[in-house]
């Protein structure tokens, strides 16, 4: 098996898996879990992309 994922694809996979796992571990009610997962996923992606753009001017 030789998977080729881009940086963005890897980050989205990481964010989704960790958000779902944390949502199930830290919340009991289904609605609370969904809210936690969506919010956590959004923050993972927004902060990841934000840091990426902040570092962009120094990348070359």
């Amino acid at each position: 098996m030789d998977l080729k994922l881009s940086h963005l694809q890897t980050m989205v996979l990481f964010a989704a898996v960790i958000s779902i796992a944390f949502g199930f571990l830290s919340r009991r009610r289904p609605l609370d879990r969904v809210k936690y997962i969506v919010w956590s996923l959004f923050l993972f992606l927004a902060i990841g992309l934000g840091i990426g753009w902040v570092m962009y001017p120094f990348s070359r």
């Binding site: 098996m1 030789d2 998977l3 080729k4 994922l5 940086h7 890897t10 996979l13 990481f14 898996v17 960790i18 779902i20 796992a21 199930f24 571990l25």
Partner: protein
Amino acid sequence: MTEDTMAGTTPRRDSRRDTMAFAIGVAGWVLPGLGHALLKMWGRAVVIFLSVGALVVVGAGMRGNIFTSQASDAFESLGYLADIGTGSFYFLAKSLEPNGPDVSHATGDYGTRLLATAGVLNLLAALHAYEAARGRKA
């Protein structure tokens, strides 16, 4: 029940529960999700099994570095501790990488991080199962 009897049984019961909780924590470490399954927390068990499994399969598929116990520096030791956190899935990852790791490309480096994440996530889940078995709020 007299106070003497209660004083004699309660610590023994606590000790038994602590031993069971420890065994459940170890079971959760050895096979991701098993600790929660033993506690009949089926949703959490399935999610932990699939999450750790997905991270291990993709991380190994990207030919991430799976550290061994023969570490040459502190970072490799930490990497090994993180990787062994996946329990039996450590050997699954090894079997999925017949040609060994390839970190000469960024993809392999991402795979290394996913494998470490899987281990740390499983350790967290095992600790959660241990705490739940001890009766702490979980």
